[in-house]
């Protein structure tokens, strides 16, 4: 049973991830008054890349070849730890917690950054260097924001986190709302979107995340893109299901599962729209303004914590 859910969960992430990207692009285009690409375009891109020739740098080592696989595997392993529509995969959830998710994602980023340096291109190095700075500065913000639900649940276990957030009384706490704000900003930074990074840039010098992909072609590039899409979906799922776990099917029955699926899609639509809105309204920050943005996330998280301690008081 647990194994079945594992497979379903994996398949769901893999299938849904490009669609979410397509939706965000479409929503952004709509907000900017453009027609924009078809919502299925990310699938087509993946298929196109999958059938293209692979060209690898002569100076590259096995790191370049292994990085897409490692990024893909770690991202999926992290993704299946998070519930999408049902808590039934709880057997597996017992063995993983939110820290595991964060550090699995870090593992993927670690190897991706190494791959950026591997070919000896200055752009790759630039991407690695900037990405690791932003990732490092984002970490405290993410953990401070997540501390609020963690301390409410008394555990870092994902099942407990979801369980604790199910109580409506929790949602109305100012700490929870502040943490939600922090986590949403963290999601923007984590998915490499404006104002921190621009996923659609084609100018090497302004690339952060894309810079590391510059040497990749063909099937490895398809894997990398797909992994990044899964990662984006994962981050949105954290916001959607850890902070608003309502609608999750507590028992695996067809009706509740169907309902849960609909609610999940609705939440994703909302969050994706939010990302598109922020991207349309704001301009990208200069690289050395971005740390300020990231510190602000930490500050917001800290504020959430302080308000948690002050409103609930000491025991």
């Amino acid at each position: 049973m647990a194994l079945t859910w594992l497979v379903i969960q994996t398949a769901l992430y893999l299938a849904l991830a490009p669609l979410v990207l397509g939706y965000i692009k479409k929503a952004k285009a709509y907000l900017q008054g453009r027609r924009g690409p078809d919502i299925r375009q990310p699938y087509r891109d993946l298929v196109k890349l999958w059938h293209k020739e692979t060209v690898t740098s002569r100076t590259a080592s096995w790191i370049t070849r292994a990085a897409p696989l490692i990024l893909f595997a770690t991202t999926l392993a992290a993704a299946v730890l998070l519930p999408t529509i049902s808590l039934a995969s709880a057997v597996y959830l017992r063995y993983g917690d939110i820290l595991t998710v964060i550090y699995l994602l870090a593992t993927g980023s670690f190897f991706l950054a190494l791959a950026g340096l591997d070919a000896g291109s200055a752009f790759g190095g630039m991407g690695s260097s900037r990405e690791s700075l932003l990732a490092a500065l984002l970490e405290p913000g993410i953990l401070l924001a997540l501390s609020v639900p963690v301390l409410t649940a008394g555990s870092t276990s994902i099942r407990r986190l979801v369980g604790a957030s199910l109580s409506p009384a929790v949602l109305l706490l100012p700490a929870h709302l502040l943490a939600l704000g922090a986590v949403f900003l963290a999601a923007i930074a984590e998915t490499g979107r404006i104002p921190v990074d621009n996923p659609d840039t084609h100018l090497e010098l302004t690339m952060i995340h894309e810079g590391m992909f510059l040497e990749y072609t063909g099937r490895p590039l398809a894997l990398l893109n797909w992994a990044v899409q899964v990662r984006q979906l994962l981050v949105l799922t954290v916001v959607a299901n850890l902070f608003f776990p309502w609608g999750l099917a507590l028992v695996p029955q067809p009706v509740s599962l169907g309902l849960a699926g609909a609610v999940y899609l609705g939440k994703l639509l909302l969050l994706g729209g939010g990302l598109a809105l922020v991207e349309s309204v704001y301009a990208k920050l200069r690289l050395f303004r971005a740390p300020g943005f990231l510190w602000a996330i930490s500050f917001l998280g800290l504020l959430a914590l302080v308000s948690r301690y002050l409103f609930r008081g000491a025991h």
Binding site: R58, F72, R94, L114, S121, M126, S129, A136, L143
Partner: protein, 686 residues
Amino acid sequence: MFPLFFSGRGRKVAIFLKLALTLLGLGLAGNLAGAALSCALRRLSSLSRWPSVAAGAACLGYLAAGLAVLLGEGTHVVVLPMFHPLGGFSLSLDPLAAFFLCVIGLVGVAASLFGQGYLRHLKGRDLGSVGAWYNLFLLSMALVVTGANAVTFLFFWEGMALSSYFLVVSKKEDPAARQAGFVYLVMAHLGTACLVVLFLWPAAQIHSLAFARMAILWPGLPAGEKTILFLLALVGFGSKAGMVPLHVWLPRAHPAAPSQVSALMSGVMLKVAIYGLLRVVFTFLGVGPVWWGLLVLGLGVVSALLGVLYALMEHDLKRLLAYHSVENIGIILMGVGVALLARSLHLPALLMIGLLAALYHILNHAVFKGLLFLGSGSVAQATGTGDMEKMGGLIHRMPWTAGGFLVGAAAISALPPLNGFASEWLTFQALFGLGYHPVAWWSGLAGTLGVAALALTGGLAAACFIKAYGVTFLALPRSRAAEKAAEVPRSMNLGAGILAASCFVLGLFPSRVAAVLRPAVAALGGPHPPPPGSFFTLASGMGGASLSPLLLAAILVVLLLATRFWSGRMPERLSATWGCGGTLGATSEYNATSFAKPFRIAFAFLFRPVREINSGYEVSPFFRHSLHYRGEIRFLFEEYLYEPVRSFLLELADRFRQVQSGNLRTYLAYLFLTLLALLAVNNKWL
């Protein structure tokens, strides 16, 4: 063999203890033999591997002895009185000592294996004396942790400092090494002075230097005195452990020693200092006020952050690793701090998690930092330099070394499922636990701020090792030496391989490790029940969170294989790296300085970087013929703490210099007047 006095519960305990002691005795004998051997063989360089062999055998003995006690329900203390004429050295092997003996043994075996191949290629060092001091260094560390009274402890503590000092300055023609050695010696003696006061001051009241008596009698001392003792222990052990702001010697001294010694210094010697701190604070001083824990936690946070930030700015591989030791000592101190707070606040479950996190991280850091230092030694031997800016592309020429270093880099960056992740996970749990049990808002906030600091540290450490690995091993070689580098001998890689395998084993079976650590945790006053979790999973003290790296690893492997199988093997065409139409060379690569630049700018408030560009031109500034760039950062503590103290001392010395006239008769007059004054005092004239 030795006169044994032990109180054993059952036959099994007795057998284990006898085994342990025999092994420990063999280990000590092996070290002594190694030291003697290398003195005898100092002229015969072809035999220079034998002292390392002896040391390796000795370390196997230490490891086995430690494990025997930890596995044998070893809650009993064994005392073997030895060397009475020298004022009573006595040794005991309780679980806490056994744990540290294991750490010494494990890293020692690997370092000694590595040393066999490495020592033969050392240039500019006297192999005989390196071998002798190396053996004495290991011996002293083993005897510090097994010492059962203050005399033994202090004697070998000093032996540890001196033998490592001689290893640091073993490169004779290097003024930097001598200066590093001097700084090390000053800081080491500052610490030792504190420790001498720490142990001898209460002895005036309790009339005993035996640790067993101290454990009974120290808790009864007045609170004010205990506070001073705590601070003395913190400064004395902290200066040896490399705690900020007493860390300044560490990044200087560790890189100057031969690499397998650096591995031992960073991986093990710092832990021996933590051993002392744990022993004194947890078993002697008794429950203290809350601020002790907060202070240790705060120092841990500061050490971790500053250590990793300065490491990012460092482009010498070994010095970078040394700064990371400061960082990891900080992480260990965070665990210790939580445990201290939990003890003061009477939270036994949290106390256990804090101690477990600290001990686990001690073991893990010893393993991966040892591995990284051995890797840096291989690189240094192959390229003849420690400067990362002169390396690059070594992964093609030194695949085994590169593989080992990658495991170490991933482990220190706390990537699952390696060992660094397991202990950092526990540290996170301990900090969250502190946040969850707030006695007051500040203790909760302290815990969660610790979480944020640990997260930032983890992120920066990962960035730093992306830099270190990427610049050293990947891309194109940046110097002739790096182009010509060749893989090192097999014995060196074998030493590193042992530690790399340990990174996996310690990471994949955390619940087993926790079970082995249980007696040591109990020895420090942690609760007795076994740590939660089953065979495969490690559970935290906080409700329900658990970790199963083995399962995680299985899923990762399945996913990796599936992806690999599915994406298949497409025909791959090799081509040049994209260089915007030009040709790329080593000079256009990102190097360590450029990688670190965004960090330098983002943390400019701390680094206060100095930057200087001189361009030479003849006709117009647009046609330059030369460009010189100089960039450096300024160090906070050196500038605002050590520099004022140093200049004050120098000024004071200048004042005193006037007393020293250089005139023989003046000196004699000082003598004469002193004598007369003493006589006058004796006669009660004054």
